[in-house]
């Protein structure tokens, strides 16, 4: 009986080893933080338009009543990766016709107007988040980030960082198509 006790350490080690082996999975990123917003309604916020840009702002109400799948892109003129991502978003809007709303994070109106004049404007609406309060509500960890919002205002997907490169684009487009398909099925059901 007492002998069994001496096996306890090796059993504990085998058990721990199993967890460690699981933890080594190459697809697992221990630093990735899942968004608490997924499958939740969009947070409450209301952003004014950017002065001098001539596009309307947006808030929770617009996202809840959009009636179709919408993208929300957090961006800023001071953000270098955003400049690279801008071309990808422009192409995506042209090819898929998806509605893109821009959450302009901590940016000066004059800077962002010049930036969009220079690069072209893929956004349907741009809200100005001068003090970063809406960014806090959305729980963003940096700029850029892109969210896919369902027609009913539920957050379906979050992409952290710029959508650049074939792998990232494919991943994002797959998520977008799934969201649009689910939307189409829901409408057909009604």
């Amino acid at each position: 009986m007492k002998r069994i006790l001496f096996f306890l350490p090796v059993l504990l080690v085998v058990l721990t080893g199993g967890f460690l082996l699981w933890g080594l999975d190459a697809d697992r990123n221990p630093s990735a933080i899942p968004s608490v917003l997924i499958s939740q309604p969009v947070p409450q916020f209301d952003l004014p338009p950017v002065e001098g840009l001539g596009l309307p702002g947006f808030g929770s109400v617009e996202l809840e009543q959009a009636g179709e799948v919408v993208l929300v892109n957090v961006f800023a003129s001071w953000c270098v990766p955003c400049r690279a991502e801008h071309a990808v978003l422009t192409r995506m809007v042209r090819e898929t016709g998806v509605v893109l709303m821009g959450l302009n994070y901590k940016d000066k109106p004059a800077d962002i107007t010049a930036w969009l004049d220079n690069l072209g404007n893929p956004y349907d609406r741009v809200g100005s988040d001068l003090d970063g309060r809406a960014g806090i509500e959305w729980g963003i960890s940096g700029v850029p980030e892109t969210f896919i919002i369902g027609a009913d205002g539920l957050v379906l997907y979050r992409y952290v960082g710029p959508i650049i490169g074939p792998k990232a684009e494919a991943e994002f487009l797959t998520a977008l198509e799934q969201a649009q398909q689910a939307q189409a099925e829901a409408e057909a059901g009604v």
């Binding site: 007492k2 002998r3 001496f6 096996f7 350490p9 090796v10 080690v13 085998v14 721990t16 080893g17 967890f19 460690l20 082996l21 699981w22 933890g23 080594l24 999975d25 190459a26 221990p30 630093s31 990735a32 933080i33 899942p34 901590k106 003090d131």
Partner: protein
């Protein structure tokens, strides 16, 4: 050419290690003296070959040979020579070479200094040590070759992470490895004893100096790392319960338990299988630490670059080393119980409680460190376990331990007289309580736990001094008599006194800087003044300074107290153009009473005024006591290590036992 010599030397070392894995242990089983003695030559050869490889690597760094990928990735031609050399162990591959080098040096020292150990036990120990060397050398050669070439070579290398370009963090890894790897010898001794089937007092005596040496190095390594974090990271803290800190702390805690349980095995022949288990587990935790740091399995500020193949290989090594040794333990250990009996109140019982508490504390740290992984595997949730958990779990276990540490040395072996001990310590208990109450009165309702802990620290300090005083009859006998006793007292005794007092003193630092720390974070423009802990700190502005491989904004802070000038502080914000990273150089005014700690950083918000800086000032009372206490722990370890009883004497008696005793099954 030189890098190839290094790689070739590593391959030859692997061959030698394979020979040493087999010959001595088979020789010990067959009673072949020549085979057993071959371990001497192979362990010397291992040091020479691995040393050659390490020298080749350092040389590649010194001449900035960017055809070697490791050099190109971790150093830069602009770096000062000193940092170029240090970069050799700044990366995963280079540090692993150092790891193996230390492993082989320990093997050689057993060959050199272990002449009083029976030939069979020594041969088996050296073979087990060679198994570990084989594991790590093959890991190095197969997954992490430090001499991989890079064709075509880049014009210049990328820099070593600027945070690591600091003297503290350069000595920190070698010391930590000395500790980690030092426990490998204790592990090898334990496995050899299990294979031999015999553990006795002499075994414990041979193991103790190695345990002490490893423990002392680990103490120094951890203290140095903590000190580095304190002045370099700019957060003003000295311990963050980060996974990688925890994995270096766990072998220390369990090694401390091992140090104490080995005393019981040595003096009384008890706790045999427990001491063996601790020896195995202490090194297992060192291996786990090496695995966690290098596999990227947990998020940490310390991790090396991650490669899944390496993780799998290391986990395999761990499974063989830890699983194998514990399975051997489960098989052989039940037969080796027995030994001195003791009463519930005795030195043995005291050390037993010490061991239980230290093991529980280690368990808490281990659980907290791996819990995020367990939870993610089971539920998919991601959490991080931080200081609140560790403080809540660890402190309530450690306080009773410290209380007991004060009493333990007064207890006699076998059966102690608790009443008598109570009589002797009554006065100290009263004084400690009074001091705690006094502090409570002075700080008017400060945190209760901190005051209790301070009282316990005072208790430990006073009881330790009293025990030492009693031994040398201080003030009880003429001074010359005390001096004579002081000289004749074994050094291990002085070592214990130093280490226990060091713990008490370090506790003052832990408690003071945690419970009574004050902090101010403000936006400042030149001329703005901040008050903290009775000091007035004025920000005078910043200026650009050019360093060897960085540019810095150096702030000037004038510190006054009641209008009288105290000092001027120069916190810096450095930028390293090659890696495009910035570091914070804190400015610290150190006094025994407390440290004034200042850092500056560029304001985070765009809304702040032009030329404004974020100034962070901390006042950390008593923090210097941590470093003083740690130094005393270190000196205590060294003092014990120099005790001649550990080197001569008792083992000779055992030499009469047949050298090739058949395992007692």
């Amino acid at each position: 050419m030189i890098p190839e010599i290094g790689q070739f030397a590593l391959a030859l070392a692997l061959v030698l290690a394979l020979v040493q894995s087999v010959l001595p242990i088979v020789g010990a089983a067959r009673g072949n003296k020549l085979w057993m003695q071959s371990a001497w030559a192979t362990s010397l050869g291992l040091v020479l070959f691995v040393g050659t490889a390490f020298a080749a690597l350092i040389r590649s760094f010194i001449v900035s040979d960017f055809t070697v990928a490791n050099v190109a990735e971790n150093s830069n031609s602009l770096q000062p020579l000193f940092f170029k050399i240090a970069a050799a162990w700044g990366s995963h591959e280079g540090s692993l070479v150092l790891w193996v080098l230390i492993l082989t040096i320990f093997g050689l020292s057993v060959s050199l200094f272990g002449t009083n150990i029976p030939a069979a036990l020594r041969a088996r120990t050296l073979s087990v040590q060679a198994w570990i060397v084989v594991g790590f050398l093959s890991f190095l050669l197969l997954t992490s070759n430090p001499f991989d070439r890079l064709i075509p070579p880049p014009a210049d290398g990328s820099d070593l992470n600027p945070l690591l370009q600091d003297i503290g963090i350069i000595i920190h890894p070698p010391l930590l490895y000395l500790g980690y790897v030092g426990f490998s010898i204790v592990f090898s001794f334990a496995v050899a004893a299990l294979i031999e089937g015999r553990v006795d007092e002499a075994w414990a005596r041979w193991v103790r100096p190695w345990t002490l040496a490893a423990w002392t190095s680990l103490t120094a390594g951890i203290a140095l790392g903590s000190w580095w974090a304190y002045y370099e990271l700019g957060w003003g803290g000295w311990w963050f319960w980060d996974p990688v800190e925890n994995v270096s702390f766990m072998p220390w805690l369990l090694g401390t338990a091992l140090l104490h349980s080995a005393i019981v095995t040595e003096k009384r022949g008890a706790f045999k299988s427990w001491t063996i288990l601790l020896a195995i587990l202490t090194f297992s935790l060192s291996l786990l630490g090496t695995f966690i740091v290098r596999s990227g399995i947990l998020t940490s500020v310390h991790a090396f670059a991650v490669d899944p193949a390496r993780g799998i290989y290391m986990l395999g090594l761990l499974a063989i080393a830890i699983g194998g040794s514990l399975a051997l333990y489960a098989w052989r250990a039940p037969d080796m119980e027995g030994g001195g009996l003791f009463a519930p109140i005795s030195r043995e019982a005291g050390l037993l409680i010490n061991n239980i508490l230290l093991t529980v504390a280690t368990g808490i740290v281990l659980f907290g460190t791996l819990y995020p992984l367990f939870l993610e595997a089971v539920t998919g949730d991601k959490i991080s376990v931080g200081a609140p958990f560790f403080n809540a779990g660890f402190i309530p276990v450690m306080l009773p331990l410290v209380l007991l540490t004060g009493i333990g040395p007064f207890l006699s072996w076998k059966r102690a007289d608790l009443m008598g001990v109570g009589q002797r310590l009554k006065a100290i208990a009263v004084v400690s309580t009074l001091i705690a109450l006094g502090i409570w009165y002075l700080t008017t309702g400060g945190p209760a736990l901190a005051i209790l802990a301070l009282g316990i620290a005072v208790w430990l300090l006073l009881t330790t001094l009293k025990e030492w005083g009693l031994r040398i009859k201080l003030f009880k006998a003429p001074f010359a008599e005390s001096l004579r006793r002081l000289r004749s007292l074994p050094r291990a005794s002085h070592g214990m006194t130093l280490a226990h007092a060091g713990l008490a003193i370090a506790m003052f630092g832990f408690i003071g800087s945690s419970a009574w720390k004050t902090e101010q974070i403000v936006f400042v423009t030149p001329g703005v003044s901040v008050s903290i802990a009775g000091f007035d700190v004025t920000f005078e502005g910043t200026q650009r300074v050019q360093g060897p491989n960085y540019v810095a904004d150096r702030g000037t802070l004038t510190v006054t107290r009641d209008g009288a000038p105290v000092t001027t502080m120069y916190p810096e914000r450095r930028f390293y153009p090659v890696t495009r990273t910035g570091t914070t150089e804190s400015a610290i005014r150190e006094t025994l009473a407390g440290d004034l700690y200042a850092t500056i950083s560029v304001p985070a918000s765009d809304g702040a005024a032009e030329r404004a800086w974020t100034l962070r000032i901390l006042y950390e009372p008593l923090v210097s006591f941590i470093w003083i206490g740690a130094t005393m722990l270190l000196l205590g370890g060294l003092m014990s290590l120099s005790d001649r009883r550990l080197r001569v004497g008792a083992p000779r008696r055992k030499a009469r036992a047949p050298a090739n005793a058949t395992p007692a099954e």
